[in-house]
Structure formats: structure tokens, C-alpha cells
């Protein structure tokens, strides 16, 4: 048993349901007690989804507990088959009902006989994998199921499309800015004359999965979901895949060069060259490269930040901050423990320390210790930042309704670089504000907010220093207060005067 207050990644069945409900005309049946079907609420509320979430719970109640499900699950499957005629029905238990150890595979086999739809059981261990791993696995399972079916029917071929084409794998519901990223990727491919063969699972049809191998190569924008599918397709059909995330100017260029390589590997003559496209986009279309050169970005140089998120986003953002903006990353971390090795390798040399943990208090303690000027993290870090009065830009799931903006906010591609630069710039207190800090001035006459994490009361501020502290703008007051107190403690000073404040400032700047 462990005492838990917060989770970065949800339980396995959420991942399975996210994949199933992203496909068109796929219905999921949950074998679960009343109330476990809150996925429907998340999808409907967060994504502001207009359609009913295609997930139905086959309720596990006291009777089921006593006598087993008997015909209940099968009845629910066949009922949905008749009512909504889905192409596929995915059955999944939850953490709770998986302990019942009912033979769900048997239910699936029996329901398949009387259903027009295909029926499968999501094959996931609910106590060993999290939401992201389960999503990755379920997507692979569905793809494998339909490709095997096509092979049996003899309709499966690896006949390539006439012009270069790619599949985009891993865009799905409740993903962090996934819809915007997908649009941006499609635009990028279109610019390069590469056709999008299929996007899965979001908006994809399982009936068309058999055409996946027609693409020249696969793109996996986020390594959390889609990598298993891409590896399967590589193994089975020799389809190459790109797992470089096109986030930031450097990696987007790298991504395009890899595509060039793959495209050219299929062409015997008239090879493509995307270098001029990369240059044009970098120098003139994307504003981010110009931003890096601009006077604004100069103020970011050497600022210390903490980055935390899923492996893909945390690693990419760390590299962007360091390579493209000259920011100092004090700590880069991820909650994707299963991908620790990859993450460590990616951020090595880009940050002082790497943090791999699922425990938000450990993240909070690290941030408090490092005292960065800004945080780039999840909604959790945003709240940690609020408590410590450190600004935070949200760069990764777990998602919040704020991560489903109505406007266009991709993180990938060249438009993504602009969005990221904006978000980074706006997260810092900069320019004139910085100078105000330097001279301790300000025009904020509000009372000092004493709500800080330092609860020690062994220090007293005399009236003059209190007044001085009041003059400091609210957004940095907490930090100045903490720094001064830290200095006073080091020097063994108990009463803080204005002189001590200045001394503290001097000590810090040397």
C-alpha cells in the first residue's frame, strides 16, 4: 500500500479507452463497477466532445460479485453490436474488475459468434502498466489484429503508394495539444510533397488499417504512444519509422532530414533535397530563430529553470531551452519511469541533474531547492510554482481543460517553435521588470504576503525593512524575502534591517 495524493499518469484502462474511442466507429465495453466509467466525463468535458463517448460499462455489481457475470457482458456486447453497428468492440476490465479473474477472453469468443463486429479483449496488465504504456499496447494490438485479419483474407499487400507517403501514429484523444500538432505535421508533410497515408488512432477507421503498409514510412511524434505499433510494422513489413520528435528548430530540421533519407531510399532517381526548405523555414517563416537572436532573448541567457513532464515533452523542451535560447536547465525530469534510460541519454549534457520520479512531492522539493526563475512542467508543477511564487509554463500532460484551447497552439513543427518561444518568454519576468528588481524599486503598496514555504519565525524584519520589502513588486517579493532570510541565517543575523537586505543582494550578485 502506498499513500498517494496525485498521479501523473492514469490507470491502464484509461489508456486503452483513449485509443479505442479515438478510432471512428469503435465501441469499448468496460467490465467495471458503477462509477469506474468516468472516462466518459473526462472526454466529454475536457475535449468538449460533441459526440457521446463510445464507451459503455457492463456494470459489476453485488450479483456479479456473487455469481459471476454469466451472460451479462456478452449481452452488453451483442446489444451494442446491434444498436450502433461498430466495426470493432474492445472489451476492457479496470484495476478493480481485473481482480475478479473472470474469463473475459471466453466472453469475447462467445460474443464474436453472434456479433457482426469484430470483438477483442484489451490485453493489458492493470497493475503493472500505466495509462501511456497501456495505450501504446492497445494501439499495437488493434493494428496487429486487423493486419492479421487482412492477411488471412489475402488482401494485405506492401504495394507502396506512387508518391512519397507516411502514416502518423499516436495522435489520440485527451492528448496534450495532439489535434494541433497533427494539423501542423500534416502541413509540414504537405509542404514537402509527402502524402499522409493514415493518421491513427484519431479519426482513423479500423477497416482501413490494412492499408497502413502502403505508406513509405511511419512517423511517431510522441514516443509514449505509437512506438510499439511502429516497431511491429517495421518487423512485419520492413517499414522504417521516425521517432525523432519535430519539436524545436533543431529537431524539426533533424526530423525533416531523416524523412529526406527515407524518401530517397525508395527513389532510384530524382532524389529529393529538403535543405532549402529547412533554411527558408528556419530563417524567415518561423519567428523562433529570429527570437533567439533578438534582444529579448538575451535577457534569458543563463536563467535557471526546471523542466518536468512526459519523456517526449520534457526532453524536447530541455533541448530547446538550452540549445536554442541559452537558458540554464537546473533539472530536467520525467514521470515516465519506464523510459528512464532513453530520457537520461537525451538530457545528458543539457542539465545539471535528471530526475525520474512519479512522486510530485519529490518534484516540489527539487524545485524549492533549486529556486529556478521559471518552471516548465505539468499542471502539478504549475501549482507547485504558485505556492513558491515561481512562474510556470505548462508543456506536458496530464491534461487540464486549459490544454484544449480553441485557438491553434501546436508544439510541433515550425508553428510549434513560435508557440514554445511565446510560452517561454511569457513565463519569465523580464526586461524592465528585471531592472526594477535590480534596484529594489517598485510601486506595489500591498501588504507583504507572508504565505511562503519558509515557516521559520526565528527572523524578525524591522519596520524599515518591512516597508522596503513592501515596495518590491509582488511577483518577486517572496524570492527576495527568502534570499534575504537565507543570507541572514548564514550570517547569524536575527533582525533584518534595510542594510541586511542590501547586503544580501550584494552577496548574491557576487
Amino acid at each position: 500500500m502506498k499513500l498517494a495524493y496525485w498521479m501523473y499518469a492514469g490507470p491502464a484502462h484509461i489508456g486503452t479507452l483513449r485509443v479505442a474511442s479515438s478510432f471512428k466507429n469503435v465501441h469499448a465495453i468496460m467490465h467495471a463497477p458503477l462509477g469506474d466509467d468516468y472516462f466518459n466525463v473526462m472526454r466529454s468535458m475536457l475535449e468538449r466532445e460533441r459526440d457521446f463517448t463510445p464507451v459503455t460499462a457492463s456494470i459489476v455489481d453485488r450479483h456479479v460479485l456473487a455469481r459471476g457475470s454469466q451472460e451479462k457482458v456478452i449481452d452488453n456486447i451483442t446489444r451494442k453490436d446491434k444498436e450502433q453497428r461498430p466495426d470493432l468492440i474492445v472489451l476492457t476490465p479496470t484495476c478493480t474488475s481485473s481482480i475478479l479473474q473472470e474469463d473475459l477472453q471466453n466472453f469475447v469468443a462467445r460474443a464474436s459468434i453472434s456479433s457482426d463486429s469484430d470483438v477483442i479483449l484489451a490485453d493489458v496488465n492493470h497493475y503493472r502498466v500505466n495509462e501511456l504504456q497501456a495505450a501504446d499496447r492497445t494501439l499495437e494490438q488493434i493494428v496487429r489484429y486487423f493486419l492479421n485479419k487482412a492477411r488471412r483474407q489475402g488482401v494485405l499487400t506492401r504495394s507502396l503508394t506512387d508518391t512519397p507517403s507516411a502514416n502518423i501514429i499516436g495522435i489520440f484523444t485527451l492528448g496534450f495539444h495532439n489535434q494541433h500538432d497533427c494539423r501542423e505535421l500534416k502541413r509540414l508533410l504537405q509542404d514537402l510533397g509527402i502524402k499522409v497515408n493514415q493518421v491513427i488512432p484519431e479519426g482513423g477507421s479500423v477497416e482501413h488499417l490494412q492499408d497502413l503498409p502502403k505508406a513509405w514510412f511511419n512517423i511517431v511524434p510522441y514516443r509514449e504512444v505509437g512506438l510499439m505499433t511502429a516497431k511491429y510494422l517495421e518487423r512485419e513489413f520492413g517499414m522504417p519509422y521516425l521517432s525523432t520528435t519535430p519539436m524545436g528548430i533543431v529537431d524539426t530540421a533533424e526530423f525533416i532530414r531523416q524523412m529526406e533519407k527515407y524518401v530517397n531510399s525508395f527513389l532510384s532517381k530524382e532524389k529529393v533535397n529538403y535543405e532549402s526548405y529547412i533554411n527558408y523555414q528556419t530563417q524567415f517563416v518561423s519567428q523562433a530563430a529570429w527570437f533567439s537572436r533578438s534582444i529579448d532573448c538575451q535577457n534569458l541567457t543563463g536563467k535557471k529553470v526546471v523542466v518536468f513532464g512526459d519523456a517526449t515533452h520534457a526532453a524536447s523542451i530541455t533541448k530547446i531551452l538550452v540549445r536554442e535560447m541559452g537558458i540554464h536547465v537546473g533539472c530536467a525530469g520525467t514521470y515516465c519511469k519506464h523510459d528512464a534510460e532513453w530520457f537520461n541519454e537525451q538530457v545528458q549534457g543539457f542539465c545539471d541533474e535528471a530526475l525520474i520520479t512519479e512522486d510530485h512531492t519529490e518534484v516540489a522539493d527539487t524545485i524549492a531547492r533549486i529556486e529556478p526563475s521559471a518552471i516548465f512542467g505539468t499542471q502539478m508543477e504549475r501549482h507547485i510554482g504558485k505556492r513558491l511564487e515561481i512562474p510556470c509554463g505548462v508543456i506536458s500532460s496530464p491534461v487540464h481543460i486549459q490544454n484544449f484551447p480553441l485557438g491553434y497552439r501546436p508544439f510541433l513543427g515550425y508553428e510549434g517553435t513560435n508557440q514554445i518561444a511565446d510560452s517561454v518568454y511569457n513565463s519569465f519576468t523580464l526586461g524592465m521588470e528585471d531592472h526594477l528588481l535590480d534596484i529594489f524599486g517598485g510601486h506595489d503598496t500591498k501588504e507583504v504576503i507572508t504565505k511562503s514555504l519558509s515557516t521559520e519565525t526565528d527572523l524578525t524584519w524591522n519596520p524599515e525593512s518591512q516597508r522596503e520589502l513592501n515596495k518590491i513588486p509582488g511577483f518577486v517579493r517572496g524570492k527576495i524575502k527568502r534570499n534575504t532570510e537565507k543570507f541572514a541565517r548564514q550570517e547569524g543575523i536575527t533582525t533584518i534591517t534595510v542594510d541586511v537586505m542590501y547586503a544580501a543582494k550584494e552577496a548574491l550578485s557576487t
Binding site: W6, M7, M45, D51, C95
Partner: protein
């Protein structure tokens, strides 16, 4: 027109969406200020509290998950030792007056003996431990509160009254609550002690207290009280009355285990319900209500603007929080037509007075009795709604946006769980919620954006 008279209950498949009963933690930990709630369940339970309910656990929370891991499920670890370890941790960090263990579906399935372990841990750590089985196998949404209150009922002190031999006056052991509320003008009420049960915000509790005080009735305590240490005394002479329609288990426990006398009244929701509730309490105590009718009329007059919006409009309750019958009765009295009252569970005895008020209201307003559907089937309900085209659907969160996209106005049922809806004063708040979608649409009407679906997906 004989449908006026007959109460019929249908029961559907139970394929409906509602919140898990552990969600009661979200409001109970705030209500009982010195408590700590420990939900013993899986990641699925924790993610629900964190995500779907939007209750994020940030600074210094007074509730947590005891997350069951593979070792717990396969019984490799000792439940007693594990729970003791976590509770000691909680004691060190928060030192609450009580720890409430919320059992979940998982603890039911693995048959964890929470009731057996609790007394041991209680002695070991020196903090009372209350066990409530708020699981989704047996209960829906708000019934979680019912399981917690029923469990706390056992912890209320025993009510005793005796004649002091020295000064010859009658002495009583009452709750701290009534001691504090005792004022000079209202020293010794001439009625037996009255305890109200149901979790409502403290302002609502004082509003109801003062409504009863107008009738010279003093409330001796609330279950739950603001603090665990202030629980009311219970016993044979104590009368109890509920304010929430989903507390049938608590009512039964109060009657059977604590020998209290239950006042079966309609619930104090809407001016009509509040009046009926007060009248019923008065009648049990043999008190003639003073100025109650005037008070009700005055409230109705204040609601006039809302009533003009609602009159003749129709509403469909999909069923979620068990407040449905009381709300439907109030809305019918406001002049609305109710097509269907979906409700997860219907205790016909505990809700008897409410159901009979519903019948009377329908008769009075000359409309047929709505159908009451227990354990509804959401899919079938949506088909029925397609036929009926109600002006408003009161629904769980999962269906709100899709219904809105199909041109049906919705209001989240959970809002009625969290808003202040009890008593005369808050009648306005209920109608404020109910009319909001109608008012919103009045201001958007000329735009003609009623159907926001692509033709193929309808």
C-alpha cells in the same frame, strides 16, 4: 386521467453513468473540519478523485488514497500492518480527530476485513477510525455520504436525561453544538431533542436552524457536525429528521441501532418542500406553525421572474444524485412539466413523504405523474429524449456536451449536489441553476446555432 393517482416505478438495465460513491469525500472532508479521509482503493479510484471530479489534491490535503498495489491484491502483504503504517504517517502529518476509511469495490472484492482491522489500529494509534464502505458495487454517487453518516452514527454519544437529586432539575447530555447555540431567550424548549442529519454547508445549517426557531423548535445537533468531536447525542428520546433524500441507510441505522424516532418528512428543497418539512416536524411535536404560509408565499413572490421563464417548459431527469424526486416536485410546482425522473435507487419508505408530496403537487398543478425510472439505461433515455425534445435535461457530466450539440439544453446534476439548495433562502439558487441554460439560450437565440453536428453523425 387516472395516471394522476398512481405511482409507478420502472426499472431499466442499470447501464447508466454516475459518479462513484467515493466522491462524497470531496464534500465531507470539508464539512468535518477535523477529519481525515483515507480512500483504500486502486489507481482507478485515485485518478477519479483527482481528475473526473476535478478535486485536485494540492496543498496540505485532508484526504488521501491508500493505493493498493499488486502485493496487496495477492495478499502478500499484511493489510493490518500496511494500514497501521499509513495511519501513523497521517497522525504524524495531520493529527486529525478521526480517520475515516473509505472502502471501495476493490476492498470488497479482495474481502479486506476493514471492520476487523479498524479497532486494532484505533487502539494502536489512539485516533478513532470510522469505516464506511462507499463502494460502487452497492451504491451510487451521493449514497457515499449515506454510508459515512451511517458509520458515524455509531460513534455519537449516548443521550441521557435524568433528574438531578440535589436541585431537582432535569439534566441532559446534549451536543456541544446545542450548548453553543443555547441563547437566553430560548433556554428550555418544550419538545424532545431534535437532531437533523445530512451534510450541508454550515450557513445552510444555520438557516434551517433559524427557520425552525421561528416555530420555537430548537435543533440539538447535526449529523455530521462541523467537528467530529461535536457529534450530537443520540438515544431513545431523540427525534431525527433528514435533509437529504439519499440517506436511507443512515435513517435506518438511527432508528434500529440508536433507537431514535424518525420524522418522515418531505425534504426541505424549494419553498413547498421546506414548508412541508417544517410543518411535519411541528406536527410531530404538537406545535402549530406560525406564519409559515406567509413565509412560503413571500418566497414564491420573490421567485416570480424565474417562474415566468419556467412555466410550461419541460424537463427530463436522467438520474444521478438521488435528489431527482425532490427537485422534480419543486420544478413541477414552479409550473414545469417533468417527462421522466431517472434515479439510481429509490427507497420508497424513506422517500414516502416526498413521493406523496410529488403526487399532491401533480394533482394541484393538473399534470400527469412523471414516470420514475430506477436504474435507468442512458442509451434508452437518449432515444426517449429524441422523441420528447425536452426544454431541459438534468444530466450527469458525461452527456452534457453531446446533448447540447443536439440542441437539448442541459444542466449538470452535480451542480445541485454542490450548490446550496436547502431551505427557503436557497430556493432562488436552485432556480438560478435551472434557468441558466434557458437564459443563455434566450440571449443566443437569434443566432440559430441549435444543431452543431455534422449531418452524418446525428
Amino acid at each position: 386521467m387516472n395516471t394522476f393517482e398512481i405511482l409507478t416505478f420502472e426499472c431499466e438495465t442499470g447501464n447508466y453513468h454516475t459518479f462513484c460513491p467515493i466522491s462524497c469525500v470531496a464534500w465531507l472532508y470539508q464539512k468535518i473540519e477535523d477529519s481525515f479521509f483515507l480512500v483504500i482503493g486502486t489507481k482507478t479510484c485515485g485518478y477519479f478523485l483527482q481528475n473526473a471530479l476535478g478535486v485536485m489534491i494540492f496543498a496540505e490535503p485532508r484526504y488521501a488514497m491508500a493505493e493498493l498495489e499488486e502485493g496487496d491484491i495477492s495478499a502478500q502483504l499484511n493489510d493490518h500492518e500496511e494500514l497501521k503504517r499509513l495511519c501513523l504517517h497521517i497522525k504524524k502529518d495531520r493529527n486529525p480527530s478521526v480517520i475515516v476509511w473509505i472502502g471501495t469495490c476493490t476492498t470488497e472484492i479482495i474481502k479486506m476485513d476493514l471492520e476487523g482491522i479498524a479497532p486494532k489500529v484505533e487502539t494502536e494509534i489512539g485516533i478513532p477510525i470510522v469505516v464506511a464502505r462507499a463502494n460502487g458495487l452497492d451504491y451510487a454517487f451521493t449514497q457515499g455520504e449515506d454510508t459515512v453518516l451511517a458509520a458515524i452514527t455509531h460513534r455519537c454519544p449516548e443521550y441521557k436525561s435524568w433528574v438531578d437529586e440535589e436541585d431537582g432539575t432535569e439534566k441532559k447530555v446534549l451536543s456541544v453544538y446545542s450548548e453553543r447555540n443555547r441563547d437566553e431567550t430560548f433556554k428550555s424548549p418544550n419538545h424532545p431533542p431534535l437532531v437533523l442529519f445530512g451534510s450541508v454547508p454550515s450557513t445552510v445549517a444555520s438557516q434551517l436552524d433559524s427557520e425552525l426557531k421561528r416555530q420555537s423548535i430548537r435543533v440539538s445537533g447535526w449529523l455530521p457536525a462541523q467537528r467530529y468531536t461535536e457529534l450530537p447525542s443520540l438515544g431513545e428520546e431523540v427525534y431525527v429528521c433528514g435533509v437529504n433524500p439519499f440517506l436511507s441507510r443512515t435513517a435506518t441505522t438511527l432508528m434500529r441501532r440508536r433507537k431514535c424516532k424518525l420524522i418522515g418528512a418531505p425534504f426541505p428543497i424549494g419553498p413547498d418542500g421546506t414548508r412541508a418539512w417544517i410543518e411535519k416536524i411541528c406536527s410531530v411535536f404538537g406545535i402549530k406553525p406560525q406564519g409559515l404560509e406567509e413565509r412560503e408565499t413571500q418566497i414564491w413572490n420573490n421567485l416570480k421572474d424565474y417562474l415566468d421563464l419556467l412555466r410550461g417548459k419541460s424537463v427530463f431527469f436522467m438520474g444521478d444524485n438521488l435528489l431527482e424526486v425532490s427537485l422534480a416536485r419543486f420544478l413541477i410546482r414552479c409550473g414545469m412539466i417533468v417527462y421522466e425522473i431517472g434515479i439510481p435507487y429509490m427507497d420508497k419508505r424513506y422517500q414516502a413523504a416526498e413521493l406523496s408530496l410529488l403526487q399532491d403537487t401533480c394533482k394541484k398543478m393538473h399534470i400527469p405523474m412523471p414516470r420514475i425510472v430506477e436504474k435507468p439505461d442512458n442509451y434508452n433515455q437518449i432515444q426517449r429524449m429524441r422523441e420528447l425534445q425536452p426544454d431541459l435535461a438534468i444530466t450527469g457530466m458525461a452527456h452534457a456536451n453531446p446533448l447540447e450539440a443536439r440542441g437539448i439544453n442541459t444542466k449538470w446534476s452535480v451542480e445541485f449536489t454542490f450548490a446550496q439548495i436547502h431551505g427557503f433562502t436557497n430556493a432562488k439558487d436552485v432556480l438560478e441553476l435551472v434557468t441558466r441554460p434557458l437564459r443563455r439560450n434566450n440571449s443566443l437565440e437569434h443566432l440559430g446555432w441549435t444543431n452543431l453536428l455534422q449531418p452524418t453523425i446525428i
